[in-house]
Symmetry: C2
Subunit: 534 residues, 2 copies
């Protein structure tokens, strides 16, 4: 039996030898090992006390379980000690997010309310019947087009008329909930709710329809430069609050002009970047003033073109635009991507020629704009979206956005391992967009055990409600007995290694991370050691 | 671009080089290639015409999609051409099934109705309220205990009283649906319905409770030797009807006696095997008389002990019993397994000592009873159930039952490849027991691309409604663009290679398979080529 146990132990070690935490236990400090034990104990306790039970109080969930559907579980997660611990953890970099969906919907609404230029309209008058299907369209108007209309819900409202946001909200019919009813209606249009994700829109294709509609609604607000400035700042601040110290975000440059303070479409791409730079500087200044400089390293932008209706010619324009911006803002533009749902939209293979020209042009100009491509965000096996993985890797992508279907590709996993191509995994996004039924079914442990470099990401927290990275780390941590504190440390720390940071930026960021990590681990032991033992 | 396409092609070939169908296309006959093309065309057509749509007519499914939840999709599947094609396909061997759950519930009920010894009782009188929660308990009684009670639903019925099955059925209250109502109630207790699988019992633990209750209900009937004989025959005949030519089934030997024709618990294990042998011989005789000898090679038994409440001592008894049976019926007993839900029950590691002794005993006695162990039928990552995979492989298991979590273990997949350890995958079972939300999320393609030997299995078709193997092949075939006719051919044919057949049995079985396959392929081309082209 002893010999059997030794042989078993050797086999387990071999089986896990490619994991990012394979050698973490030996290298860990005493406090880290203590903290890891505490975290595992809390997790085990809460499996029983919180998760494995009937939940008649939660609509749509007969029973709760660890790693269950996020939108149904969210309120329960917030009450756990495990979440309390994870939310204090330094997260490293957020490498995969779409800027238009990064700020809490209510916060965005509150920002918008400060801007009298913002108007709203509907295609049908809102009533008790239409309120669940009709979406708001927001838009800033030039001052000479501002209206003084009173309400979207009044019987005199003619569909299509622009109503000032403030009026629409304050005059929202009391039968429809008044002001609070307006907010709920708007928030519902900006977010995905559990009924949609898990019942009415039960396929990936259907939930994507709803998902894309949240972008369309948000765009009417975020596209307005005065809101954009506050929006980006809010994104940074809330991320920093959650322990994120560096951000690479995807900005879709598909419209050529944002709407300026004057209500005109006249703010070109380069001004977006100027503003972005200013916001970064402002946040850094404010943090420095509070003695919190070590909490934020900065942010860069992955230039993104939108795949929908994109031709090779159209793509050429964006690639040239990206090059021009990189030349002017080398410290800001860090990569190029194509965005949009992979299943229905054209695959990467359609764009190889312009992509190859892009690479050649960079060589001529001495630039370095790596591809950081979405690929394999699909349940397909051998479909065009799944095959995008071959092209992303052949094109030399620096990281892979999602790579959900990568687990099916032994040779591609090997290449990711050899070439250090990190996968930007977005577990909660995948679950809400119905690529996985719940977290225990997610392929993340498969990639982890294959030694594929992984980072965790929120993708579109405004639509999904997974603000920051705490929720994603929580969902990953709760469904595995192998994964512990040292695993999530490696994931968080590695996000800085796979980021587009110059060597000196990177070592500074890692040094800051290590300092904050020590503080966190000590806090964890101080806070929970007595409590967990009891 | 041309060079790019060539490099891409090379990468795809490398990535798929471990698949069972890696070299199938070159080796295929002209007719096979034609048939493969036809099948793919039908699949693509039906994706659009059948699957990608709103389905207001199907309760609980807002939209249907390929590979969707089986219990909701079943009726739709039956109407497809793809299913029509797959159902004619020779399936090779069925290697993973639990005998007590292999015959359609209504058929079982009809068999039971022929036996006046069968009585039924309930713990509470059946009413409109209790009928959805109270289960029937069936039992054959010795003739001197037969009752003449009239009904389970009458107000004079006292809970616990045994009522003759025929009376209980014919006198079933008309308000509860009369005879048809009785049948529905009984069938509901013997099967899992979509509401249970996908709503009320939404966790693996909960649906297992329901699942196990179907066994408890069935056992009262199947444990009766006169029913057992007809049951096994019916299992063979319906399997043969579906194109299955050989069966290895798990029989749980946890009770020591079946109930004989006299209603007494007096039929020992060896008599079960005598009868089993007779049923095989009878079926073969009947087939021969119809000139269908090539449709059935035979059947063997995987001796199974039940894990629940099992101690090492208890296991020793079963292992010795298994050895004794193997000595008397060397052609029937082909393996040993432990059965029961892996998540809550003790892991294999608890039983290493008796298992090692079992191996030593066989060596002494010159026997060969391979382990064919359930392992990794779990969503756990590093849990005891997941770790069963290490022990199954270290114990030298010939095949792995389920191996659902195997995709997480790179080293174990490598060992399966090297040692030819086949995984008995049960896709529909996994989906209904909530290990996967739907077929597109199932890890089967991951194992396939890693070159892990795979067979497809129905597990418990009586409870799940996936009679035969056509449904499982259908669900696997419909969710992949890589998998085609030549892939399912390899899976079906391989099932005979991984079966416990002596070399001469195996080559005979393979030769029969190949003959039937040619006929099938020709039928497919003749039936669908004109139609699909139109």
């Amino acid at each position: 039996m002893e010999e059997y146990v030794r042989e078993r132990e050797r086999l387990i070690v071999k089986d896990r030898s490619l994991r990012v935490d394979a050698n973490a236990f030996g290298a860990a400090s005493h406090t880290e090992n203590q903290a890891d034990e505490i975290l595992r104990r809390i997790r085990t306790e809460e499996h029983e006390t919180v998760w494995d039970r009937a939940a008649p109080e939660i609509p749509g969930a007969a029973h709760v379980f660890p790693g269950m559907e996020f939108l149904t579980a969210r309120e329960t997660i917030l009450k756990t000690k495990l979440f309390q611990a994870v939310s204090k953890m330094p997260k490293g970099a957020l490498l995969h997010s779409h800027l238009d969906a990064t700020v809490n919907a209510r916060v965005l609404l509150n920002i918008a309310l400060k801007h009298p230029a913002i108007h709203v309209r509907t295609s049908i008058r809102l009533t008790g019947e239409t309120i669940y299907t009709v979406l708001p369209e927001f838009r800033p108007l030039p001052q000479d087009e501002w209206t003084s209309l009173g309400s979207l819900t009044d019987s005199v409202y003619e569909p299509g008329q622009w109503v000032p946001l403030l009026n629409a909200r304050s005059a929202f019919e009391s039968d429809l909930g008044g002001t609070a009813g307006f907010d709920e209606w708007a928030v519902r249009a900006l977010t995905i709710n559990p009924t949609e994700a898990y019942h009415t829109h039960n396929t990936t294709a259907k939930i994507w329809e709803k998902f894309l509609s949240t972008f369309a609604v948000a765009r009417g607000l975020v596209r307005y430069m005065p809101i954009f400035v506050e929006y980006v700042r809010e994104f940074f601040l809330s991320s920093i609050e959650d322990g994120i110290s560096y951000i690479e975000t995807r900005i879709p440059f598909w419209y050529k002009y944002m709407i300026g303070a004057d209500g005109q479409e006249n703010v070109p791409h380069r001004e977006w970047l100027l503003i972005y730079d200013e916001v970064i500087a402002g946040v850094k200044r404010d943090l420095a003033a509070q003695g919190r400089s070590d909490e934020f390293v900065g942010s860069k932008i992955i230039y993104s073109a939108v795949k929908k209706d994109l031709t090779c010619e159209g793509l050429e324009w964006y690639l040239e635009d990206c090059i021009a911006l990189k030349q002017e803002f080398p410290h800001l533009i860090c990569g190029f991507d194509l965005v949009g749902p992979e299943d229905p939209l054209p695959p990467l293979i359609n764009f190889i020629v312009p992509f190859q020209r892009f690479v050649a042009r960079q060589k001529e100009l001495g630039l370095d704009i790596p591809f950081i491509l979405h690929a394999g965000e699909t349940l397909g096996d051998g479909t065009a979206a799944d095959m995008n993985l071959y092209d992303a890797i052949l094109l030399g992508t620096k990281r892979i956005g999602h790579g959900f279907s990568l687990a099916k590709h032994p040779k591609l996993m090997e290449l990711c391992r050899e070439r250090n191509i990190a996968v930007e995994m977005c577990p909660i996004s995948n679950e809400i967009l119905r690529l996985t039924g719940s977290m225990p079914m997610h392929p993340l442990p498969i990639l982890m055990n294959q030694g594929v470099p992984i980072t965790l990401n929120s993708d579109d927290p405004a639509a999904f409600g997974n603000m920051g990275l705490s929720f994603d780390f929580f969902q990953v941590l709760i469904v595995s007995e192998v994964t512990g504190l040292l695993t999530v440390k490696a994931l968080a720390r590695d996000s800085l290694k796979y980021a587009c940071l110059a060597p000196e930026e990177q070592s500074a960021a890692l040094a800051l991370f290590d300092r904050r990590w020590s503080t966190f681990v000590q806090w964890l032991v101080d806070t929970f050691s007595g409590e967990a033992r009891s």
